[in-house]
C-alpha cells in the first residue's frame, strides 16, 4: 500500500516558491530520502507533510487526504523528528518521551496504562531506560537525538519523518542512529521519509532517493541512478567522484582542485 503520496505539492514562503510541484510516492515499509543542495526545499517538503506549513497540491497518507484530517488525526499518522529539536529545561527523559502520546489523548485527558507501556517500550528500544529519570538537558547530543526518536516512536505513527537525523553527530553515532532507524523500520513496519545531507549515508540506508533542486524533483531512483557524478556536479555545483564500494554501496567523495572558477 502507498503510505505517502505527494501530488503536485508546492509551498511558497516569503514570496518564493520553495517546493515546486513535487510529486512522489512512498510505499509502506519503504525508506525514501530527500537529497539536494541547501535551500532545495527538502525540509519544507517534510514540514508540509507534517501539516506545519500551508501548501498547494495534495498530501495523501494511506489514501486519506490530509486536508480533511484534524491536527490530531495527522499526528497519529506521521511523527516528525526535527533537525534541531527544542529541548525543554527541567524535565526528565521519560516526561519528554511521554509527550509523544499527545495525539492519542483527549484535550483534558491523562495517560492510561497503555500509554505508559508504549513509553516504556520506546525507552527500551532506544536503550534509554537507564536515562529515564535523568534530566533531558543533561544528556549529550547523541543521547538527546535518541530521546527525540523515542518520543516519535511513542507517538506510534506508521510514518516517520526525519529531518537530517544525523546532522550534529559524529560518524559512529550517525551510523548507530541510522542502523537503529532501519531496524525499527523493519521490526515495526514503519515507513521512513527523511532528508539527508550525507549522500553516501543516504545511498546506504534509503531504498530510493529523490533529488531536489530549487524546489523541483530533478532525479529519483536507486542510489545507482541518482548518485552519479553528472547529477551531483550539476545540482550541488561540486566536483565529486562516485566510487562503487562493494558491500557499502556508492561512496561520494569530493575531489579537490577541480572546481571551476566562480562555481
Amino acid at each position: 500500500m502507498t503510505a505517502l503520496a505527494l501530488d503536485r505539492l508546492s509551498v511558497v514562503l516569503g514570496g518564493k516558491r520553495v517546493v515546486d510541484g513535487l510529486a512522489a510516492r512512498v510505499e509502506e515499509g519503504e525508506w525514501v530520502a530527500l537529497i539536494g543542495p541547501n535551500g532545495a526545499g527538502k525540509t519544507t517538503a517534510l514540514r508540509a507533510v507534517a501539516g506545519l506549513v500551508g501548501y498547494a497540491g495534495h498530501v495523501h497518507l494511506f489514501g486519506g487526504d490530509t486536508e480533511r484530517m484534524t491536527r490530531r488525526q495527522l499526528a497519529r499518522l506521521v511523527a516528525l523528528v526535527p533537525q534541531v529539536p527544542l529541548i525543554p529545561g527541567g524535565i526528565t527523559v521519560r516526561e519528554y518521551v511521554l509527550l509523544g502520546r499527545t495525539p492519542h489523548l483527549g484535550y483534558f485527558g491523562g495517560e492510561s496504562r497503555a500509554d505508559h507501556a508504549a513509553v516504556d517500550e520506546a525507552l527500551v528500544q532506544l536503550d534509554l531506560t537507564q536515562f529515564a529519570r535523568r534530566r533531558l538537558d543533561t544528556l549529550s547530543g547523541g543521547e538527546r537525538q535518541r530521546a527525540t526518536l523515542a518520543r516519535a516512536l511513542a507517538q506510534d505513527a506508521p510514518i516517520l519523518l526525519l529531518d537530517e537525523p544525523t546532522a550534529a553527530l559524529d560518524v559512529g553515532r550517525q551510523q548507530h542512529v541510522l542502523e537503529l532507524v532501519d531496524s525499527l523500520r523493519a521490526s515495526r513496519g514503519l515507513t521512513v521519509f527523511s532528508t539527508m545531507h550525507d549522500l553516501t549515508l543516504a545511498g546506504q540506508y534509503a531504498h530510493r532517493l529523490l533529488l531536489l533542486d530549487h524546489g523541483k524533483l530533478v532525479a529519483a531512483g536507486s542510489a545507482e541512478d541518482v548518485l552519479t557524478r553528472t547529477l551531483i556536479t550539476e545540482h550541488y555545483g561540486a566536483e565529486v567522484a562516485v566510487l562503487d564500494a562493494p558491500g557499502s554501496g556508492f561512496v561520494v567523495v569530493p575531489v579537490r582542485g577541480t572546481i571551476r572558477d566562480g562555481a
Binding site: 529539536p85 525543554p88 495525539p103 484535550y107 485527558g109
Partner: protein
C-alpha cells in the same frame, strides 16, 4: 533537595499551606489558641457551636480567617497564573502582569481614586474598575499581538504586552499628576494589601480563582507539550493557538480578580513557580498544582510578616514578598546548581 518520589512534594506542600493557614489564624494581638481556632473554624463551617467567646469568635471569623483565606486565594492564583504564563510564553521572566494586567488595573484604580474620591479604597467601585482595567489592557495586548500574525508567536504577544503596559502606565501617571492628592492612596494600593472587610473580598475572588485553577490544572499536560515549541507541539497534534488563548484567558481573569481585591502584589508569580522548578523539576504536571498550594501558603506567611513586624502598623505585602522572597530565591538558586 530533589525528593526520590516527586509525588511527595504534593503532601509536603499541603503541610506547608496548613501551617501557613494556622499561623495566619493564630498570630495577632489577641491569643486564641490553636485547638480553639481549629475547633471554631469547623464549627462555623458545619454550623455548630463555637468554643470561643463572642468577641474572640468575631476576631477569628470576621477578621483573621477572611484575611488568611484571601491571602491563600490570591497567592495560589498569582503563582499558578505566573507558572501558566511562563509556560505558554516559554519565557522564564513572564509574570501574571506580563500582558498589561497591572498597568490596566493601576489605571482603573487611579481613575476611581481621582474622579470618584468619595468611594476611596474601600468602596465597590475600585475592585470593579481595577478588574475592568486589567481586562481591557490584556485584551488590547492580545489583539495587538495576534495582529502580527500567528507566525510571530509568543514573542509578538510579549512585545504587545510591553507596549500596552507602557501606554496605560503613561495614562495612569498623567491622571495621577492631575490629582496629586490621590498619590498616597493610589501608591498604597499599587504596593498591594490584604485588607478585608469580612468575607466580601473572598466572595469577589473565590469564583474566579476556583474556575482559573481548574482550567489551568486541566492544561498542565498540554503546557508540557508547549515546552517543545509551537512547531513541535503542532506536529504532536496540539492546536497551539487555542491552548495559549484558553490559558491566557483563565490566568488573566484570575489575575484581574486578584488585583481587584489586593492590589499589585509583586514577585509571587515569579518566585513561587521558579522555586518549585528548581526543587521539584520543570514538568507542569507537578509544577501547576504545587504552585497553587505553595503560592497560597507563601502569601499567607508573607501577610503574617506584613502585619506583625511593625505592629500595629502594617507593611505593604508587596514589600514583604520582595524583601523576603528575593533572598530566599537567591539561596535556592545558589544551592540548586545542576543536581540531576
Amino acid at each position: 533537595m530533589r525528593l526520590a518520589t516527586p509525588r511527595l512534594w504534593i503532601p509536603a506542600s499541603v503541610v506547608f499551606l496548613a501551617a501557613a493557614l494556622l499561623t495566619g489564624a493564630l498570630v495577632g494581638p489577641v491569643h486564641l489558641g490553636a485547638l480553639n481556632v481549629v475547633h471554631a473554624t469547623f464549627a462555623h463551617v458545619f454550623g455548630l457551636h463555637s468554643p470561643l467567646s463572642g468577641a474572640n469568635d468575631a476576631i477569628l471569623w470576621q477578621l483573621r480567617l477572611p484575611r488568611v483565606v484571601l491571602g491563600a486565594l490570591v497567592g495560589g492564583t498569582l503563582a499558578a497564573a505566573g507558572a501558566a504564563y511562563q509556560g505558554v510564553f516559554r519565557n522564564p521572566l513572564a509574570d501574571p502582569y506580563l500582558l498589561g494586567a497591572a498597568a490596566g488595573a493601576g489605571l482603573g484604580a487611579t481613575l476611581v481614586a481621582s474622579y470618584a474620591p468619595g468611594s476611596g479604597l474601600s468602596g465597590d467601585l475600585l475592585p470593579i474598575s481595577a478588574f475592568v482595567g486589567a481586562g481591557v489592557a490584556v485584551v488590547a495586548a492580545y489583539t495587538l499581538g495576534r495582529s502580527a500574525g500567528a507566525a510571530a508567536g509568543p514573542a509578538a504577544l510579549v512585545l504587545a504586552g510591553v507596549t500596552i503596559a507602557s501606554f496605560f502606565t503613561a495614562l495612569q501617571t498623567f491622571v495621577q499628576q492631575q490629582h496629586v492628592e490621590t498619590v498616597q492612596e493610589v501608591y498604597s494600593w499599587l504596593l498591594g494589601r490584604l485588607a478585608t472587610s469580612g468575607w466580601r473580598e473572598v466572595g469577589i475572588i473565590a469564583p474566579y480563582a476556583a474556575a482559573a485553577w481548574l482550567i489551568l490544572l486541566g492544561h498542565r499536560r498540554l503546557l508540557d507539550v508547549l515546552a517543545v515549541g509551537d512547531e513541535e507541539a503542532a506536529a504532536l497534534g496540539v492546536n497551539v493557538g487555542r491552548v495559549r488563548l484558553f490559558v491566557v484567558v483563565a490566568a488573566t481573569i484570575a489575575t484581574a480578580a486578584a488585583v481587584a481585591v489586593s492590589g499589585l502584589i509583586a514577585f509571587v508569580g515569579i518566585i513561587v513557580p521558579h522555586t518549585i522548578r528548581l526543587v521539584a523539576g520543570g514538568s507542569y504536571r507537578l509544577l501547576l498544582p504545587l504552585s497553587v498550594v505553595a503560592g497560597a501558603g507563601f502569601l499567607v506567611f508573607a501577610d503574617v510578616i506584613a502585619r506583625t513586624v511593625m505592629s500595629p502598623a502594617e507593611l505593604p505585602i508587596g514589600v514583604v514578598t520582595a524583601f523576603f522572597g528575593a533572598p530566599f530565591f537567591a539561596v535556592v538558586l545558589h544551592t540548586s546548581k545542576r543536581r540531576a
